[in-house]
Symmetry: D2
C-alpha cells in the first residue's frame, strides 16, 4: 500500500472543439490531476495532435462509452448545449463529479432555458448545478458534484459588475461585448471564413444572444435585478474578449468609492486584476486572468467598466480547472498559475 | 477661346498623412477637378508613390508656400488640429474655397475648442465653417467657402442618430465606437506597432475623446440636447469604423416607427444604406457609404443603431470630395460613386 | 436607327465565388460593356449584394440556362476546373466569345491536363484557348474567341520570369509563392477558418500544385524549357500574392543587364511596374498591376525576382477584363485603370 | 548550513525588448533558476508589467550596473549587436556565465563580423563563444561559460539542414524565410506600423541579411561549405518563423533515405519534431519546438525542407533557457517543456 494518494482521474468529454481540447491540455499538464481519456463524437480515432498540434497532448480521441469512461473521478464535459445534459446525467449516475461547459445547468428558470435552448436533455437534474464562477461562489463549488461553468460573456460581465451588483446600485446597464472568432466555435462557416473576418468587425445575434438570461439571472441574485442591454460583436482575432459596461447607478458614485469597492473585492482574488489603464485582450491571452478597469464619468455620472478575458481560458477551460481545483481542495491556482 | 470650362483646380495641403494622401488620390481621379499640387511638411521632395504606392498618384510632395499654392480654386487641408487654422486662413485670404479636415472649424463654442485643442490658430475665422456633413447640411455646404469636414466618429454617430435627434427623442445615449488603426494616424508609436495591435482590442481615450463635444453640439442642433457617453476602441484592422449606439428615448418607439423614420430620411441620400442585418465594416471599405441597422429592443425599450463607415473615406477624405462636389454644383456622387 | 453602337453585353457565369463576383463588379462599372446577367449554381435567386455587399452590384443571381443566357456577346466563366468546359462549349456554340477563368483551356498537353484535373468536359475544344496573359499574347487575344485566363500563380511567375525565359537563360528556378486566403476559395473549411489562419503561415500542396504544368508549359514556349520547383504557402491575409523566384542562369548576368532587359520589356506594358525596392502585396491590392523587383546576387550569381499581384485582380478577374478589352478593340486599361 | 542548494541566480540584461522580456518571464517561472534582476537602458524604473502585462513578471527594470548586477551566477544578455559585447565582457570578468542573444560572439571570422556589424565591442573575447544550438553542440555548451545564442533564422535553417549538411551533400541551397513582425524588434517605425503590415507581405534586406554569414559558417562546419541564397520576408503576424529550404544535392537522395536521416538524427532531440505534413507556425507558437517536414521532389531531384519555429522562443529566449539548462546540468527541457 502506497502512502502517496493517486491524483484524481479526469475525463474530457468532447475534446475536438476548441474548449474541450484546451481543457484536455490543461488537465494533461496539471500536477494534481491525471488525464484519463479524451472523447469526441466527430473525430474518434484521431490523435488529438492531428487537430491541435500546438496543444501537444498525446492522446487518441475515443468514442464516448459510459461503461468505458464512467470509471473516473471527475469529468469536464464540452458538448454543445442540449447534447451535454444526457452525458452529464450518465456520468453523475456513476458518481463522477462534473464540470459542464455548456449552458445546460446554468439557468434556474426552466421556461427561460427552453425558450433559449429548446427541451432539456436531463430534466431531473435541471437546476442542480452550482454556478461555477469561483470569484463569487467558491464555497458552494468546493462542495459541488455538478458545476455549471459560466459562459464566456457572463464571466467577463459578472466580474465587471459584481461589486456594483452586490451594492444593489445598477439601475440600468449597457454591455457592449467584443469577442474573437474562436468564440464562434470550430465548425467552418461563411461567417468564420478567414476572408469574411479579416479587416472586419460585425455585430451578431443583436438582441438575441443566449447569454442574456444568464447575465440577468446572476445580477439579480447578486442584488441588482435589471434587464441588461447586451450586444456582441465579432472581431478579427482568435482568442480574447472585451466587455465594455456602461452603468447607470441608482445613486451617485465617485471614483474613490468605485475604486475602494473594486479593490476591496478583488484583494483576495488571484485571477482578478484591477488596473489603472484600459486593458487590451492581449494582456490576458492564454491566462485565467480577468483584467478590470473602472471609471466614473463625471460628465454623465455613469460608471464605466472594461473587462478583458481570454474567452477560451477564463471564459471556459481554465475556469473549469479553477473549479476542479476548488472541488478537490487544491489551491485555486494550481496548474493555471498566471500564464 | 474654348467653350469648355476648365475644371476647378484643387490643392491638397498635408498629403503625407493617410487622409491627405487619399484625398490627393480622389482628386487626381476625379472627372470634375484637377489636382494642382500636394504639399507636405515632413516629406517635401519625395514622390507620393514612395509613401503610398497603391494610391498611384504621380505627384511630388511640395513644401507649402502660399505664393505658389494660393493660386488655386479650392483646397483640401489635411493638417493636424491647431496647425490647420493658419493655413486655412492664408488660403481663404486668397479667395480659395477650403474643405478643412481638422477640428479647427467644427466647434461653435470657443471655450470648448480651447479646452480640448488649445489656442486657436486663426481666431478671426473661428465659427465661420459650415459643418460638412452633407446628409444634414447640403444647402449650406453648397454656398460655403469654408467647410469643416466632420470627424470620423461624429460622422458615423450623427448619421446613426439623426432621425432620432431630429425627433427630439434622445433622453440618453451610449455610443461604443470601434475603429481601425489607421484612425490613430501614420506616426509610428508603441500603440500602433503591429505587435501591439495584432490579436488585440483595447479601449483608448476613455472619457476624454475630442470628438465628444462635436457630437453633443450637433445632436443639440438637431433637436436633442444630451451628454453622450462616448468611448472608443482600437481594433486590429486598418480601415473601418463601427459605432454601436444604445439610445434611451424620451417616449416609446417601436420597430415600425423607427423603420419609417430611418427609411424616410435616407430615401434620397445616395450614401446612406438602411440594411436589415448588422453591417460589418468590410461592407463599406473603400467607399463613401454609411451602412445603418436600427433595432428596437423590446426587452428594454432602447433603440439600437449600428453604423459602419470607412474612417478614411466617409469618415474623412471621400466626404471631403462629397463636400467639394456640392460646393461646385456637381452631382454629389461624382468621383466617389459607390466604390 | 441609332448611330451610337450599343456596348457589348457580357454574362458572368459563376458569380457566387470570389473571382466571379469581382468580375461582375468590374463589368458592371465598365464604360464599354453592359452586364447582361450573373449566374450561380449554388445561390440562384439571391441578390449578389447579400453575398458581397461591398461590390454593390444590383443583380439577382440566376440559374444558368443557355437558352436564356446564350444570347450575349461575351461571357466570363468562373466555374471550377472541369465544370467550366461544358458551359464554355455551350456558349461557344452560340457564338459567344468567352474568357474562361478555369484551367480547362490553358494546357496544351491533354495527358497533363487529365493527370492534374481528370477527364476534360469538352474534349472537342481542348487546346483551342488562347493563353490570356496580355503582356505576352496581346495580338492573339485580340483575335480570339476563347481565352484561357491564366492561374494566379502562373500570372505572377510568368511576368516575373518572362525576360529571362525569352533569353533562354533559365537553367534552374525555385519559385516560392505566398498567397492570401482568398486564393483558397469561398468554400468554408478547417483550413480557411479564421482561427486556423490568423497568426499562421503554412505551406500547402507541396510538390503537387496544379499550376506547375502551366508554368512549365509557358516557360518552355517562351524559350526556357525547365522543370520549376514551385511551392505555395498560405498567409494570414485576404487578397495578395507574392512570388519569390530564384533563378540559376545558364550564363552570367549582372544587374545592369537584368535591369535593361526588364525595363525594356516593361516599357510599354501599362500594368507592369519595375521597382527599385521589394514590393509588398498591399502596393497592388485592388489593382491590375504586377510589381516586379529584380536583383542579381553577386554572392551566388543567381537572379532574384519578386513579383506582387492581387490574386483576385491581376491573378484572375481584372485580367479577364484586360483580355475582354483587347478582344473588343478597347484600350487595354479601360475600366481597370490603376485602381 | 542548508543541505538544499540554492538555485543559480540569473540576471536578464536588456529586458525591455521582446526577447529580453520573454527571457525574464522564462527565468522567473523556471524551477531551477532564480531571477536576480532585469535591467533596461531605455526603461529603467518602470515595472516590467507596464511594458508587458501578459508576461506577469513582478520586477522593476533597473539601470545596469556591474557593481550591483555582477554578483550573479549567470546572465542572459539581450542587447543589440555591438552593444552586447562590452556588457558580456564585464560580466565574464566577474565570473558570470553568459548566454548572449546578440551576434557578437557567433562568428569566427572577425573580418566577416566587422563587415556586417561594425567594430567589435570586446575584441579580446571575439571567437570565445560556444555556438548555442543545443541540437548540435550540447556537450560544448554544457562546459561553456560564454554561449552565443544563434539568430532566429540560423536556428530554423540549421535545424532544417543539419542532416544534409553533415552528409556533405548540399551542393546548392535556396532558403526562403518568412518571419512575423516581432522579429523586427520593438522600436516603432513606418515598416512595423500596423497599417503597413496588415494584409501585407514584403521581402526585406534582400541579399543583405546579417544572418547569412552565420548560416554559411555553420553549414561549412557541419560538412557542407556552400554559399546560401537566403531571403527574408515579413508577414502579417506577431510571433512565428517559417523557413522553406530548397536543396540541390551533390548526389541523388530519395524519400526513404531522407526520412531515415532526419528521423534518426531527431530521435533523441526533445525539441525537434519530424512531421508528415507541412508545419504551420502556429503549431509551435509559444514553444521551444522546431517542426520539420522533409520532401524529396521526384520532378527535380531537390530536397525540400520546411522548418517552423517561434522566432522569440526557439529562435531566441527559450533556446537561451535550453542552453542554461545544459550549462547547469539540468534536464534540457526544464522550464520549457512543450508549452
Amino acid at each position: 500500500m502506497s502512502c502517496v494518494a493517486e491524483p484524481p482521474t479526469v475525463l474530457v468529454a468532447g475534446g475536438s472543439g476548441y474548449a474541450g481540447a484546451l481543457a484536455a491540455r490543461l488537465v494533461d499538464r496539471h500536477p494534481g490531476f491525471a488525464l484519463a481519456a479524451v472523447t469526441s463524437r466527430s473525430d474518434a480515432g484521431r490523435p488529438l495532435t492531428d487537430l491541435y498540434p500546438h496543444h501537444r497532448v498525446d492522446a487518441v480521441l475515443e468514442e464516448f462509452d459510459i461503461d468505458v469512461h464512467g470509471d473516473v473521478d471527475a469529468a469536464i464535459v464540452a458538448y454543445p448545449h442540449g447534447a451535454a445534459a444526457p452525458v452529464v446525467a450518465a456520468l453523475r449516475e456513476r458518481g463522477v463529479r462534473v464540470v459542464d461547459l455548456s449552458a445546460d445547468f446554468r439557468l434556474l428558470d426552466r421556461d427561460a432555458y427552453e425558450r433559449w435552448y429548446g427541451p432539456h436533455g436531463a430534466p431531473e437534474l435541471f437546476g442542480c448545478g452550482v454556478y461555477g464562477l469561483p470569484e463569487l461562489y467558491a464555497d458552494q463549488i468546493a462542495r459541488a458534484d455538478l458545476v455549471a461553468n459560466p459562459g464566456c460573456y457572463p464571466t467577463a460581465t459578472l466580474l465587471a459588475l459584481a461589486p456594483l451588483a452586490e451594492a444593489g446600485t445598477i439601475a440600468d446597464v449597457v454591455v457592449d461585448a467584443k469577442s474573437g472568432v474562436s468564440g464562434a466555435g470550430r465548425t467552418p462557416s461563411a461567417a468564420t471564413h478567414f476572408v469574411s473576418m479579416t479587416e472586419n468587425v460585425v455585430p451578431y445575434k443583436v438582441g438575441a444572444h443566449r447569454h442574456m438570461p444568464e447575465i440577468d439571472q446572476e445580477l439579480a441574485l447578486l442584488g441588482s435585478p435589471v434587464t441588461t442591454t447586451f450586444t456582441t460583436h465579432l472581431m478579427p482575432l482568435d482568442q480574447g474578449e472585451l466587455v465594455s459596461c456602461y452603468v447607470t447607478t441608482s445613486e451617485p458614485w465617485d471614483q474613490a468609492r468605485v475604486d475602494a469597492a473594486y479593490r476591496g473585492w478583488a484583494a483576495d482574488l488571484p485571477f482578478v486584476d484591477i488596473v489603472g489603464t484600459p486593458p487590451g485582450v492581449r494582456d490576458v491571452r492564454d491566462t485565467n486572468v480577468c483584467r478590470l478597469h473602472v471609471r466614473c464619468d463625471p460628465r454623465t455620472g455613469k460608471v464605466l467598466v472594461f473587462s478583458a478575458i481570454d474567452n477560451l481560458w477564463k471564459g471556459s477551460s481554465s475556469q473549469a480547472i479553477q473549479n476542479l481545483n476548488l472541488m478537490y481542495g487544491l489551491p485555486e491556482t494550481t496548474g493555471i498559475e498566471a500564464w
